[in-house]
């Protein structure tokens, strides 16, 4: 994503909104970053520098927190984010085959995004749905008991029509 005046205004608005919601204190940092991440899809540099100003916390510390937590991203992600549960219960019931198929289908490895910005493929730690493994999550939708054969059909649901 390139930055122009318009979307950097959107970033500032997202930061301001999150800070207003939670209050400009250090202990609210993670909720604030979570909100911005959800709204923008990741944490752009501009967002971190603005949070740093408002919370009076050095940028280095913000970056350290932002890179520590899996759910906070410092790089842009695709329009559709596929999360594959890489935990042991999913692994023992055939998760590896599903993971291989996902990688083949999208031509992506863990943590990568397609050049057109449509798909990101990431692994995620246990989603707590171990009774119905293997589990994948596409955006906010959860799929359980996934087989390799179902992968392309599931992905097709998110492909844009036309």
């Amino acid at each position: 994503m390139t930055f122009n005046a318009e979307n950097s205004q959107a970033v500032l608005n997202a930061v301001q909104g999150a800070v207003n919601r939670h209050g400009a204190t250090r202990e609210e940092l993670i909720p604030i970053l979570n909100d911005i991440n959800r709204e923008i899809g990741y944490l752009p540099k501009e967002a971190l520098s603005q949070v740093s100003k408002l919370l009076q916390v050095p940028q280095s510390q913000l970056f350290s927190v932002a890179t520590f937590y899996h759910m906070l991203n410092t790089k842009p992600r695709g329009k559709n984010v596929i999360q594959f549960c890489e935990s042991a219960p999913c692994h023992v019931v055939g998760g590896r085959e599903v993971w291989n198929r996902l990688q083949e289908e999208l031509n992506l490895s863990d943590g990568e995004t397609t050049p057109d910005g449509m798909w990101s493929l990431v692994t995620v730690s246990c989603l707590g749905l171990c009774g119905v493994g293997p589990v994948i999550m596409v955006n906010d939708d959860i799929y359980g008991n996934v087989t390799p054969q179902q992968v392309s059909e599931i992905l097709n649901r998110y492909k844009e029509v036309g």
Binding site: T25, P31, Y69, S87, V124, P148
Partner: protein, 594 residues
């Protein structure tokens, strides 16, 4: 007021009216007059009963509580005669409720005892009144009005309840420490950062019965003298967070949280904090760093949280399940609780069963039950009638237990004696097709990924272990790999800062102890006995069963399969990437792994 022996409630929502509900009511009235029952049976209108798009018109008959549906005017005379004159339920009119299948939590099996899960699936988690109807907040009332904080601590201590987060420290003792440490502000914290792969007991309790945790926390806060509490819930559990927030608001509205709870001098409030995806935040000191808005890195203990915890104040931190047990203990007494379980582990424990089992899902059993009972009686045995190989308990820092210990009565002590841990209660069952080297590598991969990086033994040590295990799986194992692994295990265990590093070697230690021959087969014979490790297996097509249908060669992503139609096909082992697709698509089971 007239007294009726029976009431018929007919649903008059728009959909039912469209399907003739009003005509049915008229017909019912007429028929009751006809049969001389109009003074005994009352017909009433009510709102929606079932799903009107499926049934309708719907009616409920009380006191029996029978649900009839899809009735027409013509059915009425028969129904009135049978049900109201002869007193027989008319089965053919009964609504066939679509059975709600709860894959996660089925009806309790014979050997289960449900204390923590007692309300799950039974009450509406978004309605505090449902919880109150099940004796909810009775324990809080008892504690606040009839017991001193010391009494509460004494009761919880006497029950023998041990922390359900993994370490198994006595809950009452923890509270006593937090009470003794003076401080102007104290915090009560609930660890709901259930990150262990394969564990989802806490998620289910939070989603289905959030008030049991909230009530347990208020009682704990009263006991230790805390005024502010936090529930730290992982962000992967959005529904649990939602249920908690609704629950907290409802409790506030009823004066069960906030200032002067139940009209007493005691005030306490609660807030939900969300994680952001870091496994190590389940460690108590890391969790507190995360609430403070920092990197979730553990710090050395002492000082313990009871002395210097959140924001440097004395804090008590317990797991979801520990808190959820507390109200029951207060109501039913410590003797009731300690009558269940074993000598050193009292009460019940929830477990999440996952892996190659017929019935995966949540269970709650008294301590002292054997692994065999859990796997075969409660879990329904191994999927596909295969053989049992190992059970991994306690999450990624637990150990793999082999078949020879299936009759071990489980509690905190016995699990430790075989090299595993209770942990939070995840149980992953593995069948005979599992490669233990691969599993050991897998767990190390997880630990390596989740290591926070603060201390060297964990950060670097687990990396080296992963490299060695990966190399063994790839058929490049070296003769001294096993001793090197054992040395690394010992050092990492002894020198790591927190429980994550200290427990990290457990899966490898137990795998080496109980399944050593598999490691040796990989290293010395370059063979994977379970036929899992890709570098050590080849796929071959059997001449007999192969019909030459070409399905495999058409599906092979690297065109490694050749052969004429109706002729036995052949896989080129050098081109083959061992993806297994050919085996999945073959209709004749012609492909075998060697």
């Amino acid at each position: 007021m007239a007294f009726f022996r029976s009431h018929i409630l007919v649903s008059v929502d728009p959909e039912c009216i469209k399907r003739g509900a009003l005509d049915v009511i008229d017909a019912l009235q007429n028929e009751l007059v006809e049969q001389g029952l109009i003074d005994e049976v009352q017909v009433l209108e009510t709102s929606r009963i079932g799903d009107p798009n499926l049934w309708g018109p719907d009616m409920m008959v009380y006191p029996e509580g029978v649900h009839y549906s899809c009735l027409t005017v013509d059915d009425v005379p028969f129904l009135v005669e049978e049900h109201f004159l002869k007193g027989r339920v008319v089965e053919k009119f009964r609504a066939v409720e679509k059975a709600i299948i709860d894959e996660e939590l089925s009806a309790p099996k014979g050997k289960e005892v449900r204390v923590v899960l007692r309300n799950c699936g039974k009450i509406d988690p978004t309605n505090i009144e449902d919880y109150i109807a099940e004796d909810g907040y009775l324990a809080l009332a008892k504690a606040l009005n009839e017991m001193t904080p010391e009494d509460v601590i004494k009761t919880v201590k006497a029950s023998g309840l041990r922390g359900r987060g993994g370490a198994g420290f006595l809950v009452g003792q923890k509270w006593e420490l937090a009470r003794m440490n003076a401080g102007d502000v104290k915090f009560a914290i609930c660890n709901a950062d259930e990150g262990d792969p394969g564990a989802f007991m806490n998620r289910r309790v939070l989603e289905s019965d959030p008030h049991s945790v909230i009530e347990g926390m208020i009682i704990a806060a009263y006991a230790i003298g805390s005024t502010q509490g936090y529930i730290y819930c992982r962000a992967e559990y959005p529904l649990a967070v939602k249920a908690l927030n609704i629950g907290i608001q409802q409790a506030r509205d009823l004066g069960l949280l906030g200032k002067n709870i139940m009209g007493t001098d005691f005030s306490f409030d609660l807030e939900v904090r969300m994680g952001a995806g870091a496994f190590v935040c389940g460690e108590e000191t890391a969790l507190m760093s995360s609430i403070e808005g920092r990197r979730g890195e553990p710090r050395p203990r002492p000082p313990f949280p009871a002395q210097k915890g959140l924001f440097g104040k004395p804090s008590n931190i317990n797991n979801v399940e520990s808190y959820a047990n507390v109200p029951q203990i207060i109501i039913k007494g410590p003797e009731w609780y300690s009558s269940m379980g074993t000598e050193n582990s009292k009460g019940t424990k929830t477990f999440a069963l996952a892996g190659d089992l017929n019935h995966t899902g949540l269970i709650e059993v008294p301590f002292g039950i054997t692994l065999r009972e859990i796997i075969y009686d409660v879990g329904g045995g191994i999927k596909g009638g295969k053989g049992f190989k190992a059970i991994q308990t306690g999450g990624p820092m637990g150990g793999c237990i082999p078949a020879e210990y299936l009759d071990l009565p489980i509690d905190y002590k016995t699990l430790a004696s075989v090299g595993s841990i209770m942990g939070s209660g995840g149980m992953i069952v593995m069948d005979e097709d599992t490669c233990m080297v691969d599993i050991a590598r897998f767990f190390m991969d997880f630990i390596q990924d989740e290591s926070c990086g603060k201390c060297v033994p964990c950060r670097v040590g687990t990396r080296r272990m992963l490299e060695i295990l990966t190399r063994i799986c790839e058929g490049k194992g070296q003769p001294d790999d096993i001793p090197t692994l054992e040395l690394l295990c010992k050092e990492i265990m002894a020198d790591s800062l927190c429980g994550l590093g200290q427990g990290a070697p457990n899966p490898v230690i137990t795998a080496l102890k109980y399944f050593r021959s598999e490691f040796e087969a990989h290293i010395f014979e370059k063979r994977c006995p379970a036929k899992v490790c890709k570098a050590l297996i080849t796929y071959e097509i059997q001449e007999g069963p192969c019909t030459g249908c070409t399905v495999c060669s058409r599906n092979c992503p690297v065109s490694a399969i050749t052969g004429e139609r109706r002729q036995t096909h052949h896989i080129d082992p050098d081109t083959c990437i061992r993806c297994g697709i050919c085996m999945q698509v073959c209709n004749f089971n012609a492909i075998e792994i060697h």
